[in-house]
Symmetry: D2
Subunit: 354 residues, 4 copies
Amino acid sequence: MAGNTFGEILKVMTFGESHGAGIGCVIDGVPPGLTLTAEDIQKDLDRRKPGQSEVTTPRKESDTAEILSGILDGKTTGAPIAILIRNQDQRSKDYNELKDIFRPGHADFAFLAKFGIRDHKGGGRSSGRETAARVAAGALAKKILAAQGIHIAAYTRSIAGIEARTVDLSVIEKNIVRAPDLEAARLMTERIAQAREEGDSVGGVVEALVTGCPAGLGDPVFGKLEAKLSSAVMSIGAVKGVEFGSGFRAATMPGSQHNDQVHVKDGRPVTKHNFAGGISGGITNGEDIVFRLAVKPTSSIAKKQQAMTAEGGTADLEIKGRHDPCLCPRIVPVVEAMTALVLADCLLLQKTIK
Amino acid sequence: MAGNTFGEILKVMTFGESHGAGIGCVIDGVPPGLTLTAEDIQKDLDRRKPGQSEVTTPRKESDTAEILSGILDGKTTGAPIAILIRNQDQRSKDYNELKDIFRPGHADFAFLAKFGIRDHKGGGRSSGRETAARVAAGALAKKILAAQGIHIAAYTRSIAGIEARTVDLSVIEKNIVRAPDLEAARLMTERIAQAREEGDSVGGVVEALVTGCPAGLGDPVFGKLEAKLSSAVMSIGAVKGVEFGSGFRAATMPGSQHNDQVHVKDGRPVTKHNFAGGISGGITNGEDIVFRLAVKPTSSIAKKQQAMTAEGGTADLEIKGRHDPCLCPRIVPVVEAMTALVLADCLLLQKTIK
Amino acid sequence: MAGNTFGEILKVMTFGESHGAGIGCVIDGVPPGLTLTAEDIQKDLDRRKPGQSEVTTPRKESDTAEILSGILDGKTTGAPIAILIRNQDQRSKDYNELKDIFRPGHADFAFLAKFGIRDHKGGGRSSGRETAARVAAGALAKKILAAQGIHIAAYTRSIAGIEARTVDLSVIEKNIVRAPDLEAARLMTERIAQAREEGDSVGGVVEALVTGCPAGLGDPVFGKLEAKLSSAVMSIGAVKGVEFGSGFRAATMPGSQHNDQVHVKDGRPVTKHNFAGGISGGITNGEDIVFRLAVKPTSSIAKKQQAMTAEGGTADLEIKGRHDPCLCPRIVPVVEAMTALVLADCLLLQKTIK
Amino acid sequence: MAGNTFGEILKVMTFGESHGAGIGCVIDGVPPGLTLTAEDIQKDLDRRKPGQSEVTTPRKESDTAEILSGILDGKTTGAPIAILIRNQDQRSKDYNELKDIFRPGHADFAFLAKFGIRDHKGGGRSSGRETAARVAAGALAKKILAAQGIHIAAYTRSIAGIEARTVDLSVIEKNIVRAPDLEAARLMTERIAQAREEGDSVGGVVEALVTGCPAGLGDPVFGKLEAKLSSAVMSIGAVKGVEFGSGFRAATMPGSQHNDQVHVKDGRPVTKHNFAGGISGGITNGEDIVFRLAVKPTSSIAKKQQAMTAEGGTADLEIKGRHDPCLCPRIVPVVEAMTALVLADCLLLQKTIK
């Protein structure tokens, strides 16, 4: 309800705006006995925070997490974990001139239509800043998964049409666009720099890869894992599409090709191309889970645009705030977090069945 | 939980397998005073039922809906509506030879891993037959929406790479592939016939278009309308991807192009290309909602395949049952139903806000 | 939402009215591999059905349960179990004269205020008949519990002030009022007969006793087991109060007495009087769970009463239908069912923690 | 799930322990445009806080609420409201000697059985301190209700058998036991003082009265208002029973008396004694809502008791902390808060129906 809660057993509620005291989350249903420190959370927050490199917004937020509850002697107790990240670098004046204009590509008009109130100071809950709370919660979920040998890696698969040709997970954190291919990363970085110089922005594709996931997670019918993961990642602002395994290519393939070549390995059927993306009938089949997201170019650009005004006319708009010329590098940890929340929840749910 | 429930205010629980007494659903949260007859439901069930044309499986099911509860003098009372569709044309023997083999592209192995039990008679809850219950529930949701002037049309956008060039909603029900372009429909029909003759199957793309939707539906953060709709349609078997508005094309566009040209119409900002797909920041903006689904080719094909056996080896498999050579024509009403369930739920939820 | 769904992991949705096709339920989240037959369900339905003895309404309903789904070879598969009980002995004409009058003690006026529609044919969802669906679902829950050695017995503790002096579980089904004391049962039966002759009705107290429950079920804060059980049993029509262990007597006791004498048995603290009713801080402590319900006298009585009419005046009312002179004997299996649903749900939830 | 979330539309998640950084809550589903200040919340927190009078624990906590999110220019925006109350007066050493003993009447053993971890520093989530977060959330709910003319008053109806003879709402906050009868309040205060001197504690009955509630709130079947309110108030530690209107007295009354005398007022049926407690068939009927709670005597007493040790033996225990000799005065605002959360939720839910 009202959109700020996620999950069934591992349940997260997030809160906060960029103009207020801070943002944060409360996570219920955390298994007791799990080691958790503020550092576990900080590591991922640092990968998401603004100002981390030349391809992100220069806005500065240390995004320091404080764990308010649920920990005793460094371990979870089964009580809810509340995490608070205080705001620091607020420049509400950047937004004053946006008070009476609906920014193109943004939620301004839709929020007003919904709530009858407009939080023009940074977009309120439509601000990308809310994803920091997801990353904090996701860091905890990752710990639950890691204890079972499940690992998640997301990375920038393409930017503005420049594709990563290889997937080398070891280089992702060694380049500022978080691509799994250093040569492609170099080209992507250049393309982003060019967009920034032009007062423009670029989009891209982010891919997620989950290894070590046992067969049996996810539910039939409405609870299919693709449905849960899609809901999770399509809830990230700027994501316009999601596809699993073969994805949209499946639409042009015959069944005899898509069913793929099957052999048996470790007591389970393994396919040559993993077109299923690790999920069959909504339930993990033991292969790697693979999916991709379309990320649109940042809506806040410096270039002059036409926009509707509160009075119902149009006006020229040049957005002066500090914005990311490409969202992919900072969306990567958010995708990992949402994926982790879904899978940890499924892992706990599966305990009720078998 | 356990995957068989959908929705928040308008809540649906579905049940049933193709081998048992029947399938059906219970719908809670239905507004009182709505006119509803079995015919309202039957109309959409007939669009989904097997055996309706030469491009669908010849399996025969009349799929007759019986409304068990919630109606008084032809109107809803606010009580739950239960709908039962009895099974008729069961040929469990078709499935006997599948008892000890995991069909490629199917959920057989994953279900066994999850439940420790394998319902080999038609796949249990992974059977496409469960979608009849969704269509029944969706027919009710459509009535709620129609009363507010909201209309949903889904159609086959492409099959095996053959694209509809125009979108003429008036011809969708006038061709057996449910394409919005009669010339493309002719080519698609031929392509499906060819696949059937080859003992093979083909995939395609289904598009959904919602008109008349007011601005303000959907929620921020996790409850974004794209998240809810993605969850809804990615829960339909065989769907491998979903994209809204510009979709995956957004990944290659600059922001200045994607933000689109804005003008004002009826007091709201209107764009030239509707790249947002009618949704901004997760909330409807008053433009048409548009999204597309990738539908994989049917997994059950007559062509000989290699498959894993229950004993852990592999064996040749030729599936003898009666199957759809292309799923798109019958998925169309299911996509409409899931879309209707989401939007009717959002419409009711919005009443709690404004 | 909308009141017809219960439970978190083991989730039940019920439907149906006494005037329609029938009533029933769908149960999701059922563990796979459980043996379940229609007879398992019928046994408890027979204990609830009308016309079973001289102290119940003479209305006749065979209340035959049909399992529509979720069973393969006599065992649950993990798919939802749908159960349908067709209506038989409908005498809607009994209700025609009630169309324009609000019966005292009934939900007539409140339902109209809520829904704007009045289902005068038997009260719609406020009919006691809906509890048959609960009993069906509860029979399944009892099987889950029995497999863990957990057993539930409810019984009539008092009727119209006549108290059972002993609690002998073995005699409960050997007397028609379901009291655990045969001598008290005889007096209670006489008192009910007297009420019926007078065109009146009587109330009573029903007690529930759960044995074999392990420590650790229930949750802290809002999910306390008393909260869950109270919600469960207070949702049964005619129940006006609930108390656990010492109950309302606790209000007059000093802490030194209420804390009770503690000794150690089988590795856990055991008290002399079990004032806690088996629950400490909302979580089972390993002792028997004990609680009591106040059951009001049946509202439908033959005696002449004043009632408000639809036009806003008052009129004399003599209710002619066939009604129970005391609800306790038939509420007993409903209390067991609701208790079973809560505990089975808690048992499954606890698997996600430890 | 996991017990820390409450409500359907107006959804609250609470967190925190007495030994950690603080306690608090996040409230989702708050209607936009509502005036809310920290003072609104503080007023009720002050009524709950320790150290407020001679009949409460001398433990000192200022319980100052900080609103972290969801407010813009003094009004709610529809975004979640997070409230944080930092801990101050922690004396964890008081609890060190309790590390290896299970306190009688407390949740110590049950929590260990559930979580496998024992939070001995103040009881973790079983601490009464968690109710401060409920009171904060309830203060917001009260504002939603007050805007519709709905008002809630709870008060101490009896302590250790000393009954309030009259119900004068205007004197409740004028006496430290919060009784609606000043003469009874004097006797109750003396009785509590006596218990404290004896190193003992006393129980009582708290009553709640809701005025101005429209007919139509609550749902049929499982969502009956008595079920929701019972769940709400039985989740408060130390509450052992709840009864509505006639309550347990109904068990001894004949139907002809319990149905009560009906007359018509303002277009609705009004009864002489309101035995229904304002709720018929689970739905408000327009009369005052009235219910009572049994509050057990405080479990933490100074008197010497026998208790089980972690090693499985027994030992003498004298609890040295600072505790309330009677919980009723401080439970009063918690009962109001939980009642407000339920009714505000029902009010929002009802908008989806009519």
